[in-house]
Amino acid sequence: MSYFTFFVQHSDEIFAATLEHLQLVVVAMSIAILVGVPLGLLLVHRKVLRTIALSIASILQTIPSLALFGFLIPIPFIGGIGKRTAIVALALYALLPILRNTYVGLTSIDAAVLESAEAMGMTSTQILLRVRFPLALPFILAGIRTATIITIGVATIAAAIGAGGLGTFIFRGVALVSDKLLLAGAIPTALLAILADLLLGFLERSLRVT
């Protein structure tokens, strides 16, 4: 059986797995963005919180992804076998690029602009929301882009804890030493990553002002 006929025969399964994969990524990324961006805003004026949050996010990033999935399984409420655990792990993983880029974007604003804003009598909240945040958007988007691509890749490992997605084919392919199965997981994963990269890259460029 050729690769092509294999893919055609299993197109329904591949398509379903791709959707499932996408769902994992979208939900995990939404959580990471909803936590990471506001947290980044909070860190601008809070030095202690900043050190703690950025350290924790960095440490999370250093944990091998398979191990992180494993660690989460025994934890009540968020743990167990299945999608929920996978989403939590993926969100934790995506947090650092988003948090760090948000913070860097918010704090790398032209000094003359910040000085003017302060001298004009803007409150620090107004400066944060009306000046820093809009100017940081391209940075924040760059972080979201990096995190999305990482998450699409790491989400394949989520199949190891029964979360489904394209990883299912890859694990099966490894077990059965079938390159057809491996590719059925790997190719759509790569395509998803390329697509996300292009889309978010376009969005990022359209938001750049200077």
Binding site: D110, A112, V113, L114, E115, S116, A117, E118, A119, M120, G121, M122, T123, Q126, V131, P134, L135, V209, T210
Partner: protein, 260 residues
């Protein structure tokens, strides 16, 4: 020489024996015992070399910095007793690179303070138009441009318009024309001088350019190492017998074609 002017209720800004130092590894004194009074309607030019404390003096007026010792009064009230937001809304501020908001249009930049002060839409639009005309920018042509679509001179004009938006009685200017080419700079100085007379604002203007100081000032003070070492009107300033005054005078003489 420290000028201690007599207090009058006309003084919009007063410095009483002001010291300012920054705490670092060792504390460094930027201003040492500055006293001065700026009466209503005066254009006070603060002249000095880089690092003489000019910008610090300016930032003490709008409460961006707090004096280490002594006090700064704006409208008879110590800056540290003011609500700083309220104080700054009554003081226009223009700096060298204008510091325009790159993500706002010209109109949004100029209208920001009115917007924060919750003026109505039509009132803001009218004010923006009035101000752009005032600084010589045709509203229809410029209102919707972004700062990056402007020349250096145009950006500074927008900076001035933005500072005037809420009609503040005081204007602080930190080398506003310092980054402009000489021709544009002379043009801006002429126009600004006319504008200042017309509006009757009290202006504190920082520069290291003696010619600019002589042209714009109703009074010049010279800062050296954080102290006021000379003070006089443009007419009398050059006659002051002080080495730093002579040093600044010499800077003019090198420049061919400069007025003696």
């Amino acid at each position: 020489m420290n000028t201690i002017a007599p207090t009058t209720s006309e003084d919009l800004i007063r410095f009483r024996d002001v010291f300012f130092s920054v705490r670092g590894g060792e504390s460094r004194e930027i201003l040492s015992g500055v006293s001065l009074a700026v009466p209503h309607g005066e254009t006070l030019v603060v002249l000095g070399r880089s690092g003489s404390g000019k910008t610090t003096l300016l930032k003490l007026i709008n409460g961006m910095l707090a004096p280490t010792q002594g006090e700064v009064l704006v409208q008879q009230r110590r800056t540290m007793d003011w609500n700083l937001i309220q104080l700054r809304r009554r003081i226009g501020y223009v700096i060298q690179d204008a510091g325009l908001f790159p993500h706002f249009t010209v109109a949004e930049n100029v209208g920001l303070i009115p917007t924060l002060e919750k003026w109505g839409r039509s009132r803001i639009a009218a004010r923006v138009e009035e101000l752009l005309r005032l600084v010589g920018l045709e509203p229809r042509e410029f209102a919707n441009r972004r700062p990056r679509e402007l020349s250096g001179g145009q950006r500074q004009r927008v900076g001035v318009a933005r500072a005037l938006a809420a009609d503040p009685p005081i204007l602080l200017m930190d080398e506003p024309f310092g980054a402009l080419d000489p021709v544009t700079r002379a043009e801006m100085q002429r126009e600004f001088s006319a504008l200042a007379h017309r509006l009757g604002k009290t202006i504190v203007f920082v520069t290291h350019d003696l010619r600019e100081a002589l042209f714009l000032a109703s009074r010049i003070i010279l800062l050296e190492a954080g102290q006021v070492v000379a003070s006089g009107s443009p007419r009398t300033f050059m006659q002051i017998d002080h080495p730093e005054v002579r040093a600044f005078g010499a800077s003019l003489a090198i420049n061919p074609g400069a007025p003696a």
